[in-house]
């Protein structure tokens, strides 16, 4: 191999430079600008970071975000597990149907899906209209513009993302172990809980971390289904920048969010290899 000759290095540099330059100018440089905002607006110093630690509103939004992200993670991974079992191990017809139910929502935009939940859950939506028409309730139930709506909408968005790491773990599992357990007299339930689930552990961890990380920075679904009442971190950043306007605090929250997500990603890659996630 003639690796490392001058013309080779030139070729590599010429081919790789455009994208690297583009991202340095359009992404790395402005990100440093945001970091600068967090230290200089409105006055120079650590004031914004101090505010993060003391401001009651910011604190309550952080806690709400962590709580919603944790609930959404449990709901999404459990639901994804149930449908992935059928997608990976079902009969051919069951597999096609499961794949359809996973991929169609996956490819539909986040706005359309959030709107679908508004159509179902709002006061004059499908569920309330139906419950009222059969006389089950007289006043419409409040199903959106609260945390319930946010959790439902976010779980719906994230289930397909939770499916892929689980599917990869279930595919790489040796079927003979399961058949051996059944052959030795273990019941279906017991085989599932003591053999199948433990063998897909890496998929469960990967899928939970992906869903959790995604939930932390979620913007569209909480903003629509929360109706301004259950504000999460991402919406708080938007409000600080466009409504208050308090660019410094918005920037400081962004920086904290990146650091937190970065730490979680580092944790993710300690437990799972990137290849197991797809």
């Amino acid at each position: 191999m003639m690796k490392g000759t001058l013309s080779d290095r030139m070729g590599a540099a010429l081919l790789m430079a455009p994208l690297l330059l583009f991202l340095i100018l359009a992404y790395a440089w402005p990100f440093l600008g945001v970091v600068k905002w967090s230290f200089t607006l409105p006055t120079a110093g650590l004031g914004q970071y101090h505010a993060l630690l003391t401001d009651d509103l910011v604190q309550s939004v952080f806690i709400r975000t962590l709580r919603i992200a944790a609930i959404v993670t449990v709901v999404s991974v459990t639901a994804a597990y149930a449908i992935t079992v059928v997608w990976v191990r079902g009969s051919p017809v069951q597999r096609v149907l499961a794949e359809f139910c996973i991929l169609v929502p996956f490819w539909i935009s986040v706005l359309t899906r959030a709107f679908g939940w508004v159509a179902l859950l709002s006061n004059r939506g499908l569920i309330n209209t139906w419950l009222q028409s059969i006389g089950f309730i007289s006043e419409p139930l409040t199903l959106v513009r609260n945390e319930f709506g946010v959790i439902v909408g976010m779980s719906h968005f994230l289930i397909p993302f939770a499916v892929f790491p689980l599917a990869s773990a279930m595919r790489s599992l040796d079927e003979r172990v399961l058949l051996a357990a059944r052959g030795l007299g273990s019941s279906r339930m017991r085989t599932f809980w003591t053999v199948f689930v433990p063998m897909t552990r890496s998929g469960i961890i990967g899928s939970a971390l992906i869903v959790f990380v995604f939930s932390l920075g979620f913007f569209v679904t909480p903003a629509i289904l929360g109706g301004g009442r259950s504000v999460m971190i991402a919406e708080l950043i938007y409000l600080r920048i466009f409504q208050s306007p308090d660019w410094g605090l918005g920037a400081a929250i962004s920086v904290v969010l990146v650091v937190f997500v970065g730490a979680l990603m580092a944790l993710l890659f300690r437990y799972v290899k990137p290849k197991q996630l797809v």
Partner: protein
């Protein structure tokens, strides 16, 4: 040979999850047919007025055209950048490849809202320099979308390069082909499918992008998702239901065609 199949409990749970996944997509159909001007279930009579308003209201058409233009420009731009970068990685395997690829993938892993603040900073900073490029301009949106889609395009092209047999490139090189010929006449024809997929995915991601767009547009560059957002936040406009039904039908058709094509490709 016996196989391990899911039992009845698993099947029932999976059906419940499937219903949960499809429910909101089905719910928009009756809402789109309501004769009322507000979001409501049709009572008795059905109407296509909201489908008609999609054609008659110029705002919808304008935003669709704008989204198409932004999608095409940003998709071409990000695919070309991703392609040259990936060719550089594959052909020369330079040092620090892992770090460079990691850097390129950053916009994909950083929370979208932080990327949105970053691009807002960028576009408001350059707004003072020119009037056609910057905050709330279509070119600014196209560039911001390129930042967000280029990691996905790069991943797809790198994956299809990784399945390519290195020996055909070595043969071309041994026979005296230069870098340009190797890239355009040997490597690229072999990863055509990956390049097209990267361009399509970039387009789709730009077409439905809302998180970043919300931060970098206000009154001029109203893309389709931005217009839907406005209709969803204030007074919910049932035209959104009609639009959603159309988008869902297109998605289902594309997926169906793709699965048929895939079956034929693997069948041969």
């Amino acid at each position: 040979m016996p196989t391990y199949r899911p039992g009845p409990v698993s099947l029932i749970l999976a059906v419940l999850v499937a219903l949960f996944l499809l429910m909101p997509l089905l719910a928009v159909i009756p809402v789109s047919l309501t004769p009322s001007r507000m979001l409501a279930m049709p009572t008795g009579e059905l109407s296509l007025r909201h489908y008609r308003s999609l054609i008659e209201d110029p705002r919808w058409l304008e935003s669709i055209l704008l989204s198409l233009r932004i999608g095409m420009v940003s998709s071409i731009f990000s695919t070309v950048l991703a392609l040259t970068f990936s060719l550089g990685v594959w052909m020369f395997q330079p040092r620090f490849t892992a770090a460079l690829v990691g850097f390129v993938l950053l916009p994909m892993v950083v929370p979208p809202v932080v990327s949105a603040v970053t691009l807002y900073f960028l576009l408001t900073s350059v707004s003072g320099l020119t009037s056609f490029f910057g905050y709330d301009t279509w070119l600014g949106v196209a560039m911001a979308h390129s930042v967000m889609t280029v990691p996905f395009a790069t991943v797809l092209i790198l994956v299809s390069l990784s399945q390519l047999d290195r020996r055909i490139d070595l043969a071309a090189r041994g026979l005296g082909a230069g870098v340009w010929e190797r890239a355009t006449r040997v490597i690229m024809p072999n990863i055509k499918f990956g390049i097209v997929t990267a361009a399509l995915l970039s387009f789709v991601l730009s077409w439905e992008e809302i998180g970043v767009t919300l931060f970098i547009t206000s009154v001029n560059a109203i893309t389709l998702p931005r217009l839907m957002w406005m209709g969803l936040r204030d007074n919910i406009d049932p035209a959104i239901a009609a639009l959603s039904v159309i988008l869902i039908v297109i998605t289902v058709l594309v997926l169906a065609v793709r699965s048929v094509v895939n079956r034929q490709r693997t069948g041969n």
